[in-house]
Symmetry: C2
Subunit: 224 residues, 2 copies
C-alpha cells in the first residue's frame, strides 16, 4: 500500500502467466511473503511444506497460495507438498531478485547498528556495503566489518557500488535533506525508518516503516 508502482495487466486465472508481464501488486506482495516464511522454514531444516502450513504462517488462504503458485508452474507434489528449497528458488526467479543487491545505510546510532549487525537483509540477498553518519565522532568507527563514513562521500559510494537502495535510520529532522541528496545521487528506493513524510520525485519509491500503525491495526481486531 505504500508504493508507487505500475499496475499488473495479467488477467486472473489464466493459468501460466506470461514471463514478460508484470505481476499485480497483490501477487508480488504475497510471493514476497511466502518467500519470507520459506526462508525461515529452510533455516530450521524443513524440507517440504504444504499450502496449509504456509497459510498458517502467512495468514493467506491456502487455496490462494496454491493458485498463486500454480500460475507459474507445477511446483508441488500431490499428497506431499512443496519442496522448500526449490520453491525459494522459483519465487526468487519470479520476483527477479535472485541476485545480490548492495544497499547503503544512513545513521550509525542504535537503530543503524542494529540493522547493520543483523542478518535480516543478508538472508534475502541484500548486502550493506556502506554505513554513513554526519556525526564526526562516529565517522571512522567500525560497525562489524564496516567503517562509518561521512555523508559527504555519498555520491562516490553510490556510483562505485551501484547502489539503488538506501536505508534511512536517521532522526526525522534530517530525513528530508538526506532524501534530497539521495535522489540527486541517483538512488531509486528509499527505505525510511524515521517518521518523516518524504517528498521525492515520482521515479523514486519511498517505503516508510510504521510499526505503530501496524500495531494500531492489530489492536483494532483485538478490541472488536
Amino acid at each position: 500500500m505504500s508504493y508507487t508502482v505500475g499496475r499488473g495487466t495479467e488477467s486472473a486465472g489464466t493459468g501460466l502467466e506470461k514471463p514478460g508481464e508484470k505481476l499485480s501488486l497483490g501477487v508480488a506482495a504475497r510471493l514476497s511473503r511466502y518467500l519470507q516464511v520459506l526462508t525461515q522454514a529452510r533455516k530450521i531444516g524443513k524440507e517440504t511444506i504444504s499450502s496449509q502450513e504456509l497459510a498458517d504462517y502467512t495468514h493467506v488462504n491456502s487455496t490462494q497460495i496454491r493458485r498463486d503458485l500454480s500460475g507459474f508452474g507445477k511446483f508441488g507434489k500431490r499428497g506431499v507438498g512443496y519442496n522448500v528449497d526449490s520453491l525459494v528458488s522459483q519465487i526468487r526467479k519470479i520476483l527477479r531478485t535472485a541476485g545480490q543487491h548492495n544497499i547503503a545505510l544512513f545513521g550509525a546510532g542504535h537503530l543503524g547498528t542494529a540493522i547493520a549487525t543483523s542478518d535480516i537483509f543478508a538472508d534475502h540477498g541484500f548486502r550493506v556495503v556502506a554505513v554513513f553518519d554526519v556525526d564526526r565522532d562516529r565517522v571512522g568507527t567500525r560497525i562489524g566489518t564496516l567503517e562509518v563514513r561521512h555523508n559527504s562521500e555519498l555520491q562516490i559510494v553510490v556510483d562505485e557500488q551501484e547502489i539503488v537502495v538506501a536505508v534511512l535510520a536517521v532522526p526525522s529532522a534530517a530525513a528530508q535533506t538526506l532524501a534530497d541528496e539521495l535522489v540527486t545521487a541517483g538512488v531509486k528506493i528509499i527505505f525510511n525508518y524515521s517518521d518523516a513524510l518524504l517528498q521525492v520525485p515520482p521515479e523514486v519509491t519511498v517505503h516508510t516503516s510504521s510499526p505503530a500503525v501496524d500495531l494500531l491495526y492489530a489492536l483494532y481486531f483485538y478490541l472488536t
Copy 2:
C-alpha cells in the same frame, strides 16, 4: 496480510457503516495508513489536507480515500479538503484506538534501545512501560527513564500494567521460548522483530516485521 483476524461483514458502498460492525481488513489497514500520514502532517503544522495530497503520500487512490472516509460521515469541506486535526480524531474513534495502551519491550540491545527511545510508538498512543532482558549485565541499567528488568518479572508486569502488546527485539534463537512465556502470561499481540517463525495459539496475533521482504517487493517494481 499477516494477521489472524475475523472478516468484516459490511457490504461495500452502503454509505454509513453501522457502528457495531467490524471494519474489513482492507478498510482498517487503509485507515491506519491515513492516520500515519495525518499524524506526521500535523507535526509539520499542516491544517487541511485534500484527498489528492493524502493519495500522494499513501499511494492509495484519492477516490478510494474519499469513499473510505465518507462511509463514516461527512468529514471534508468541498473546495477545501479535510481538517487534519479533526480527521485524526475521527479515524482514531473509528479504529477505537483513541486511548493509551501500555506495551512491554523485550530485548535491551541496540534495537530495543532504539525502539524505547524513539517516539514512533508514543505518537500513536502506545507507551513503553517496561523493558526486559535476560542478560544480567543489562538488568538494572537504564534506557531513558525505564530500568531494564529481568524476564522473570514478566508475569507481574503484564498483570499490573494490563499489557496486551509485547514487542520482541530479541535474537531469533530466543524468540519462540519468550513467545510461549508471553502467551502463558496472557499477552494477545506479539510484534516480532526477529526473523523467527513463531508458533502461537489462534487467539494470539503475531506480526513479524520483515524489512527485507518489503525491499524485495519494492525492488521487483523497480527492476521491471
